[in-house]
């Protein structure tokens, strides 16, 4: 064996072992920002929990612009991170494009959809319409005016999916209820525009709404703030937002992004890939938040009704229509 070969062999061994050591998971936050108090923050909380429990470390980056998506994915994959977890539907396309180039890296995308899932990609989806249905019921029961509001972030099918479940829940309690819906915008900036969220809330209050559900990432901060200022109830989303304005947030539609991230990181390199994971009420992937901050707002009737509907949805007796089925909502026109 020549000296050269020895060197090459040693270098390869070092490179391999370095790869094995540096297999830290990576987390990429979408444009709403890591501290949106909602979707991305839930992902961050899940990752932090994993880091605390295992003493491990994870890589992270907060995107500043659309152009960085693919760049961030490639950089983490090349740095040897495994798995690379991304939040937000907008990552589906770049992940699909990049996954083939890094067959040894596993990619996870939350909320995304691909026609064909590559073998090293796992997509995690939530049954948001089921959770939204439950908070819609609570909204209708808490409303005195007979009008409830919904404020979405970016106008995409996913957010209409939230709104559709909400409208179905509200109408199940009170068939005559009026559901007012608004979307903040059509660009990713709509996830972080509390000023507009605030004004939309005022506009909905003007139309009679006295419970407003915000499914809008960081924009929701403005919605909840204005609702609290104007003395109406609001409903948070993704993370438990009840504590943001204690006693003024009716509940939060939990979407356990934190659990999804935690589980993916825990599985590490052994993560099962190549398909969809769907988390619904049965898997506790979605749910309603009950804690000391909203205890005074939630009546026994509400609790009983929510529990009953929850059980029925899990058992299949009650079917909440998904917006995706026909790209339209049976009870509401967006």
């Amino acid at each position: 064996m020549t000296l050269m070969q020895k060197f090459l062999g040693a270098a390869a061994a070092v490179a391999l072992s370095a790869g094995a050591v540096a297999a830290e998971p990576a987390l990429i936050f979408d444009l709403g920002g890591k501290f949106d108090k909602s979707f991305n923050e839930a992902a961050f909380n899940g990752a932090s929990r994993w880091a605390e429990e295992t003493g491990g470390k994870f890589l992270e980056i907060e995107l500043q612009s659309e152009a960085q998506r693919e760049q961030a994915l490639r950089r983490f994959a090349e740095a040897g991170a495994n798995p690379v977890i991304t939040t937000g539907f907008a990552f589906a396309t770049p992940v699909e494009a990049v996954a083939g180039d890094y067959p040894d890296t596993k990619f996870v995308n939350i909320d995304g959809w691909m026609p064909e899932v590559p073998s090293n990609v796992q997509l995690i989806g939530f049954q948001e319409h089921e959770g939204s249905y439950l908070v819609g019921m609570m909204a209708a029961m808490a409303s005195k005016s007979g009008t409830v509001g919904f404020i979405g972030g970016m106008d995409i099918p996913l957010i209409r999916h939230f709104g559709c479940g909400y409208a179905q829940g509200a109408k199940a309690v009170n068939p005559d209820i009026k559901v007012v819906t608004n979307m903040t915008g059509t660009t990713p900036a709509a996830w972080n525009d509390p000023v507009k969220g605030s004004e939309l809330t005022k506009a909905q209050i003007g139309q009679g709404a006295d419970v407003v559900y915000a499914a809008a990432g960081g924009t929701g901060v403005g919605v909840l703030q204005t609702a609290a200022d104007e003395g109406i109830l609001s409903i948070g989303v993704d993370s438990n937002q009840n504590h943001l304005h204690s006693g003024k947030v009716l509940t939060s539609m939990l979407k356990r992004v934190d659990v999804a991230v935690y589980n993916s990181m825990k599985a590490g390199a052994d993560l099962e890939t190549g398909g969809f994971t769907i988390l619904g009420l049965a898997e506790e992937g979605v749910g309603v938040a009950m804690d000391e901050h909203n205890a005074a707002l939630v009546t026994e009737d509400m609790k009983a009704a929510v529990e009953e509907a929850r059980a029925k949805i899990i058992s299949g007796d009650l079917k909440v229509e998904a917006y995706y089925t026909n790209d339209s909502c049976p009870v509401h026109q967006f």
Binding site: S198, V221, G231
Partner: protein
């Protein structure tokens, strides 16, 4: 569309128009004195951040307001140094300020508060609360009767509705901004200072010949601009919202510049123009109202773009002529 809905839309219009009006008046002073300022956006953003940050740490919104104005004035002095003292390009200096602030605010916010480039939510005395004018129906009445405020107003007489919904219930900065319009008119057109300020924007050489300092006049205009931008920024972060978020001015400084052209550099026109632009922004949120009135749906994006479209139409000379101050954009050189 019923009367109350109209009032609600107009109410939103006033809230949206206030920061535009303040920024527009700021630009008016500066440009009337011959200093173009495309850094309005940056100054507003800096003031928004520092007013929210200081209001949060001190717990007093007035101290926050002072801090916001102070930072905005500092940036104005920077702009003045570059464009008056060192006779640099005014557009470049303004743009540089905007770019600097866009990055700096987020960086400082992250360092101070560790919340991803935003300030914590402001509460209580750390933000400007709406003022209920005498005899108007306000939140206090709603609480006393245990009803919702909007419901109480809906039951009141039309005159009381106008008074309570539209005129009462705004933070103090809104009334201040409205009061600044006649004040600006009076200062510019009825005082010696105003005459000289306008002259320095039209023909600085003649002002200089008369023995009046061009430099100090221009500096005072730029300083006034800084104060007004500071108010606009503080309004965004401490009155309209409860805290600062990244890029929260979202182009309002540029819309204010467009409004300034539309208003042909006149204070009363500035008020009407910013109200009009505010109305477009308000209607963008209430497309249902437009649909009811004109019977067809209008894309909200179109409404968002209308201020810019109208400005282009004006600039193209279709609706009257917008003639900027003659010496605008040119540094004054005493001797060649």
């Amino acid at each position: 569309m019923d009367f109350l809905t109209l009032l609600q839309v107009l109410d939103t219009t006033i809230r949206f128009a206030t920061p535009l009006l303040l920024a527009c008046l700021a630009g008016l002073y500066s440009e009337r004195a011959g200093i173009f300022d495309i850094g309005l956006e940056g100054k507003m953003l800096a003031a928004a951040f520092f007013s929210a940050a200081v209001a949060y740490t001190s717990g007093n919104v007035w101290i926050g307001l002072l801090a916001g104005v102070a930072v905005s004035v500092l940036l104005s002095i920077l702009h003045g140094l570059a464009s008056i003292t060192f006779r640099g390009n005014q557009l470049i200096s303004g743009l540089a300020i905007t770019m600097l602030v866009g990055g700096m605010t987020v960086l400082v916010a992250q360092d101070w508060f560790k919340q991803g480039g935003r300030t914590p939510q402001l509460e209580g005395a750390a933000r400007f609360e709406p003022i209920t004018l005498p005899f108007a129906i306000g939140p206090a009445d709603a609480e006393a009767k245990g009803e919702q405020l909007s419901k109480l107003i809906a039951e009141a007489s039309p005159l009381q509705q106008i008074y309570s919904e539209l005129i009462s219930g705004h933070p103090i900065l809104v009334y201040l901004a409205l009061a600044l319009v006649p004040l600006t008119w009076w200062v510019l057109f009825r005082t010696r200072f105003g005459l000289r300020l306008r002259a320095v924007g039209e023909n600085p050489a003649s002002v200089d010949t008369a023995g009046v300092s061009v430099v100090s006049l221009r500096y005072s205009a730029v300083l006034i601009c800084g104060v007004l931008c500071g108010l606009a920024g503080a309004y965004l972060a401490t009155a309209m919202q409860a805290g600062f978020v990244k890029d929260m001015t979202t182009g309002r400084g540029y819309i204010a510049l467009a409004a300034l052209i539309f208003a042909k550099w006149r204070p009363w026109y500035a008020l009407w123009t910013t109200l009009l632009f505010g109305l477009f922004q308000a209607l963008e949120l209430r497309t249902d109202v437009i649909e009811n009135v004109i019977g067809m749906a209008v894309q909200s994006q179109l409404l968002g773009a209308l201020p810019y479209i109208l400005t282009v139409v004006i600039l193209a000379g279709f609706v009257g002529k917008a003639i900027p101050p003659r010496a605008g954009g040119q540094p004054y050189v005493k001797e060649r």
